[in-house]
Amino acid sequence: MNYVFQFGDVWAARWDLLWGAWLTIELSASAMVIGLVVAVLCALSKTMGPKPIRWAVDGYIEIIRNTPFLIQIFIIFFGLPRAGIYMSSNQAALLAMVVNVGAYAAEIVRAGIESIGRGQIEAGLALGLRPLQVFRYVILFPALSTVYPALCSQFILLMLNSSVVSTISAQELTATANDLQARTFRSFEIYIVVTGIYLVLSMLFSGTFGAIYRAVFARPGARA
């Protein structure tokens, strides 16, 4: 092996890479929050909605879960402009991530909602809670608490998958790395450092999820 490792160019671009990492955090966190809302709405319509809506949601979930993320990005980024809908690559990336994670998380949330016994809901109503309160305190909160770990691994998978949006030149960590690679040709050095940054990011997200769990679901008075 005669290769000489040179990390000088990577070090010189450290601020660019950190900025890229921040963009990845921003993009992923936005997709997680919006995706969770989509997931809860889908899970609700799948468990309680009328038949046609149920079928539509079922179709959405099955199609997204059985096709690659990359194809979903291409259809959104290259296909939608042909239908007259124009977006920047970052908007397309966010939309693709939301559409993708929404379907996976919907199945997870649905499993949580289905784990709530009918008796719980009836007891809530019998105690005089309004339907919206029953939904919030008896269905949604315990359901999310039950499926929280599965939801978090799905979200971390989403963050890692976000590296794929660099193919439509959305600005995030991998795209920053690709630009740097094109400028300096130090491919291996760049990608090993960026892989390390992703590893740190996934630990950071997983630590944050743990803190959120303790603050929201495990505080005194919250039911597990």
């Binding site: 099955e62 059985n66 194809i71 291409f74 590296s163 090993i192 992703y198 630990m203």
Partner: protein, 217 residues
């Protein structure tokens, strides 16, 4: 020059399915062999074996598959020999699949009730014999459903090989889209092919889940 999207273009994409299937097959077989090793190491009596396996899983599940592919692809140049995109993709997917399967199978191994482990130990079996004759045959049954489910994930993951230039169906779709500029048609077709490959597997996985999902005590 703009080309029309006709039967020849569609056929070009459909024929590339074999490369997607080949890559999936290599990664699955390689990943299964290595993954079994990871799962056994992860549940081994020796602490350092468990730690190494845990670190392996953490690294490969905590970094993007795309980066793993780039590292294998560009890393081969570092070692002095550039490799074919197929080989690079196959190696990266194998290493990645080993981590995921290792973690899935660890769960299946640990789901076997403690009484089975104790009984095997009481019969004087050492760790590997205990695994081979008592634990794995039972764990194998509950492992089938999640393993088929993982196969769906793996099939979809092979699409990333297109980024390092391996011509499977996603890359074939990009090539055709570049000359026809019919993204809805082209990627719609590519997506449909993936769906036809993945959806039956997903259904089988769900069916198996209901049948073998629980451990018999």
């Amino acid at each position: 020059m703009m080309r029309h999207f006709g039967p020849a273009e569609a056929l070009f994409i459909i024929e590339a399915v074999r490369w997607t299937l080949l890559l999936s097959a290599i990664a699955f077989v390689g990943g299964a062999i290595a993954g079994l090793g990871v799962a056994i190491a992860r549940t081994a009596p020796s602490a350092w074996l468990r730690d190494i396996a845990a670190a392996y899983i953490q690294v490969f599940q905590g970094t993007p598959l795309l980066m793993q592919m780039f590292l294998v692809f560009f890393g081969s140049t570092v070692l002095g020999a550039g490799i074919d995109p197929l080989v690079a993709a196959a190696i990266a997917l194998t290493l990645n699949a080993a981590a995921f399967l290792g973690e899935i199978w660890r769960g299946c191994i640990q789901a076997i009730p403690a009484g089975q482990w104790e009984a095997a130990t009481a019969l004087g079996m050492r760790h590997l014999a205990r695994m081979r004759y008592v634990i794995l045959p039972q764990a194998g049954k509950i492992a089938i459903a999640p393993t088929v489910g993982f196969l769906v994930l793996l099939l979809k993951s092979t699409s990333l090989a297109s980024i390092i230039g391996f011509v499977e169906i996603t890359r074939a779709g990009q090539i055709i889209n570049n000359v026809t500029f019919q993204p809805f048609l082209v990627f719609g077709l590519v997506g449909t092919i993936y769906f036809l490959l993945c959806w039956p597997l997903s259904r089988v996985s769900q069916m198996l889940e209901r049948r073998f999902g629980t451990v018999r005590r």
